[in-house]
């Protein structure tokens, strides 16, 4: 009887743990879906190729090739390999790409205001 009770308590504890686990992942699924829907930029990782970053960030690849001082020909190396080959860290590569992406995107250079003609303000990279 006591053994049955212990067994039952264990089952209940497991049940609660599993429900909590499921709830946690359900919440994360929802947050992923929101993130996905908002189409936010994904962090640049070392396994990505220049082609993938250009595709993901919707910028022309030649912009990124130029940012890394590479010839505009298709380069299938992952960024980690490019970093290694050119003696840079991933942080440097990431910084250069992000800077180039920010400067290649539609809000940049900012559209001139219709009435007054002020020079485009320089945005931070």
């Amino acid at each position: 009887m006591t053994r049955d009770r212990m067994w039952r308590r264990l089952l209940i504890a497991m049940f609660v743990a599993v429900v909590a686990f499921t709830g946690y992942h359900a919440a994360r699924t929802v947050s992923d879906a929101i993130y996905w829907n908002a189409h936010r930029d994904e962090p640049i990782k070392r396994w990505m190729t220049i082609g993938y970053v250009a595709h993901s960030y919707h910028v022309p690849p030649h912009v990124l090739h130029r940012a890394l001082n590479l010839p505009p020909a298709p380069d299938r190396r992952p960024l980690g390999r490019i970093a290694q080959d050119t003696g840079q860290t991933m942080t440097q590569i990431d910084g250069k790409l992000t800077y180039a992406i920010v400067h290649a995107r539609p809000p940049y250079p900012p559209p001139a205001p219709p009435s007054r003609s002020s020079p485009p303000t320089s945005a931070k990279p």
Binding site: T29, W36, H39, R40, E42, W47, H55, P78, G80
Partner: protein, 203 residues
């Protein structure tokens, strides 16, 4: 770590995909769903072709599954026999085997694509309980092909948000696994209670 592994895949393409799938199916922790979705994205960008990716990935996964099955059958079974002769419990093992034979088919098929994290375990238990190998490989090939088709297609479709899609699918998979486990435990709890109630009534 994940990024370094994925970097190897981006560098070496299909042979690396095959190898990674073998290891992942055999139970090594490897971000296989992110890999497949990334491969789908490379297909969308025209760097890889769809069917070679699907076939080499599924081929690797099926091979890896056989490793788990063989491990259970030729390594685990003698070990289990040795343990049961020493400390008993052969009847319990036989009971588990009957149970497993009844449900293993579904388990094998769904753990290939819907509840992937359980895959390596089910391979070993299938071998351990001597689930017929012919059926195992049939369900295995069908399930792995389905997995590759779904994940590579999703990667191809949503090729610019690989990490988000992979994270979403990963969490969704754990929700399914969690719901199954909660359902099973709940059923056990309710079943127990019902059994107790009926026994009390009869007594």
């Amino acid at each position: 770590m994940t990024d370094q592994l994925l970097e190897l895949l981006t560098t070496y393409g299909l042979p690396a995909l095959f190898g990674a799938m073998v290891l992942a199916a055999a139970g090594l922790p490897f971000p296989s769903s992110l890999t497949l979705i990334a491969m789908g994205s490379f297909v969308a960008q025209g760097e890889l072709s769809f069917w070679p990716v699907v076939l080499s990935g599924a081929g690797g996964a099926v091979l890896g599954d056989q490793i788990g099955y063989a491990f259970g059958r030729y390594g685990g079974r003698p070990l289990l026999a040795a343990v049961t002769t020493r400390i008993g419990g052969a009847d319990k093992v036989a009971q588990a085997e009957t149970y497993s034979r009844k449900w293993a088919g579904w388990g094998i098929f769904f753990s290939r694509w819907l509840i992937g994290p359980l895959g390596p375990w089910i391979n070993v238990t299938s071998g351990l309980t001597q689930y017929p190998w012919g059926w195992f490989i049939l369900l295995d090939v069908a399930g792995e092909l389905l997995w590759l088709l779904i994940y590579v297609s999703l990667g191809r479709q949503f090729s610019d948000q690989v990490q988000t899609v992979a994270s979403l699918l990963g969490n969704l998979t754990w929700v399914v696994v969690g719901l199954l486990a909660a359902g099973f435990l709940g059923w056990k709890l309710f079943g127990k209670r019902k059994a107790e109630v009926t026994s009390e009534v009869t007594v």
